[in-house]
Amino acid sequence: AAMKCVIGGAQLRVFGRAIHAIARISDEFWFDPVEKGLALRSVNSSRSAYACVFFSSMFFQHYCWTAVSQPCQKEKQLSLPCKLIIKSVLPVFRCVNVLERNVEKCSISTNPSDHHITFQLLCRHGVVKTYNLTFQECDPLQAVFAKHMCPNILKVHSRLLADVMIHFPTSQEEITLSVTPMKVCFKSYTEEDTDFSRTMLTEIQLSPEEFDYFQVGVDSEVTFCLKELRGLLAFSEAASVPVSIHFDRCGKPIAFSIEDLLLEASFILATLCEAEKEAASPEPACCPRPWDSNSDTATSKKPQQKGNTPSINSAKPPSALAKQEVKNIPRGTERDVPGTAGAATAKAAGGEATEAPYEKNSYLYKYCIFQFHSLFFGAISYKEKEAIGDTFQSLVTASDTEEEFGALQSSQV
């Protein structure tokens, strides 16, 4: 597909901040223009952080997209997104604050035939800066996440989150968000082998009243990477849109999203999984073996419990949310066979959740499953009509990272 768009001065700052926010996730990002707008996506190498920013065509002063028919193989989409190296794009939007003052508008155009994307900044005094960047065609990347299935939802202005994060040192990698219906607490994350005699710990307690929307269905304590989040906070401040936080118990992803008429963004981060304290078995009963795609039929909730897998011994009583969880098919591992089972599952879940959200602005994942989709695993069944594949196979996800962390966090549940 070919696309040409123009970003007006005022929106440049927002766009630039989006690029910077995505840059914190990975070195490359997916540039995916579609008829309705432009999507930018990124995922980090350990698949523990995913970002997607979608600018609707209304965000731009001018947006024009034409499908170009090309001979393509069956599995490929009609319009392939392209991958760009962030480092090449960042200089275009360096000094975002200054951008607004000096640049009148920015035009972006793609030229699929010679694999170029051109960024052109039209600045004051007739200066025009042109950046021609090559892109690689690549597999589409999308993740879907069941936001509306999350028991815990907080909504707050980004200013508040920024005021909270300022108390943590910039070197702080991970923080823990702990909620009960009575209070909200952000604190420095500590591993079991933290040397407390050398580490300064910070904790911030907030009252639920400070949030624009506060729903806590299940007490939970989730730990995620702060660094990846900071970009989103700066971006949402530039866009002046409140931030919604959707999450569940530890181990399940946490989504930070913003949405208004012109744009939507979601940053989905994996959270650390806690070990089962009461694990009777010598086996580590905890996270790293989440469910197969097959296990969705079980009414289990925590990775530790589960039907099919005899190796997991410790069981926790299923909570009231167990039923809901069934539909939450979180992550499989690389070792899972992304076979038809997965597809079936996804479809089933898709069937349930394909409601109104889909028609609206389907790029942003008001949808069920935190899964990645990649041609690489060769299991796409692509339907041309639906831009978002709801028939994705589960992919490598956070579970890998969680293993690395080896989290042994004490359970609050």
Binding site: P169, F196, M200, T202, L206, S207
Partner: protein, 284 residues
């Protein structure tokens, strides 16, 4: 051993923060000594510190609205803690508009100074930010290592020039040399000198004034026999001097230094509520 203190007044809090910032610039780790009336920040002259030592003393009543402590024992009603002042500085940094700051000694995973900052919020209940700063408790048998240093038997005592001026001079000299010579005489003259293979630079200050020290056991009377023009000099690590000057956030009421020829330079910076002494040994 118990300690709890509270600051409610914003001006006191800011002043206290500034002092902590100054200490943090001078020492990576230091000793905090608590007594009923005073707080001391001490850096002893161990080799690890590069030989420089520091003694900073403040009256708790000038800063804290509440201050309670119980030392290790009744006859030794003091607490000595080892801490990283940068941590304390960081904890106080975001307390600019706090409603109150409480500091107390706790023992969670290890002995800590817990700094709880109560911040205003949009809702009826305040936001509370707690920082747990790990500390090491110094046992009583080691307290002797941290006694107040005595004023050395100096050759010259002189008031310092405006710290801002001195700082900018030293900062530029730092780019040229690792060592600086401070020399001064009893006629109110001071020179800062650096000398390398390529260049030597000297900055001259005059009319600085020499503080009158009460004469004790005759050591000062010999100074009167001394030539008023003769310079006493010491060559010191320029970085240490620069750290001292850069850390000053407020102009002191009095600033002076005592020079022991080729041995040590003793700086004294006095503010209304806090005094800071810093010793930089001369290099061979």
């Amino acid at each position: 051993m118990r300690f709890r203190a509270k600051i409610v007044d914003l001006a006191c809090l800011n002043h206290f923060s500034r002092i902590i910032n100054t200490i943090a610039k001078l020492a990576k780790t230091c000793i905090l000594r608590l007594t009923v009336c005073k707080l001391y920040f001490i850096l002893s002259d161990k080799v690890a510190n590069g030989g420089a030592s520091m003694w900073c003393e403040l009256s708790q009543g000038n800063f804290f609205d509440e201050f309670q402590m119980e030392g290790v024992a009744a006859e030794h009603n003091e607490i000595y803690l080892e801490l990283v002042p940068e941590n304390l500085s960081r904890a106080l940094k975001t307390a600019q508009n706090a409603k109150a700051v409480k500091i107390k000694l706790t023992n969670k995973h290890c002995p800590c100074l817990s700094v709880a900052v109560e911040l205003p919020s949009l809702s009826s209940s305040s936001r509370i930010v707690t920082h747990d700063i790990p500390v090491g408790v110094i046992p009583r048998r080691m307290w002797n290592d941290f006694r107040e240093p005595s004023v050395p038997d100096f050759d010259v005592s002189i008031y310092l020039p405006a710290l801002k001026t001195m700082k900018s001079v030293v900062e530029r000299m730092k780019n040229l040399s690792n060592f600086i010579v401070i020399e001064a005489n009893l006629s109110g003259e001071m020179n800062l000198k650096i000398e390398t293979d390529l260049v030597s630079v000297t900055t001259h200050f005059k009319d600085l004034g020499n503080p009158p020290w009460a004469s004790e056991d005759g050591c000062q009377s010999s100074a009167q026999d001394r030539d008023l023009e003769s310079m006493a000099e010491a060559c010191i690590d320029i970085k240490k001097l620069q750290q001292l000057l850069a850390g000053q956030q407020v102009n002191p009421t009095k600033a002076l230094c005592n020079i022991v020829r080729k041995r040590i330079v003793h700086f004294i910076l006095l503010h209304e509520e806090v005094s800071l002494q810093y010793f930089i040994p001369a290099v061979a």
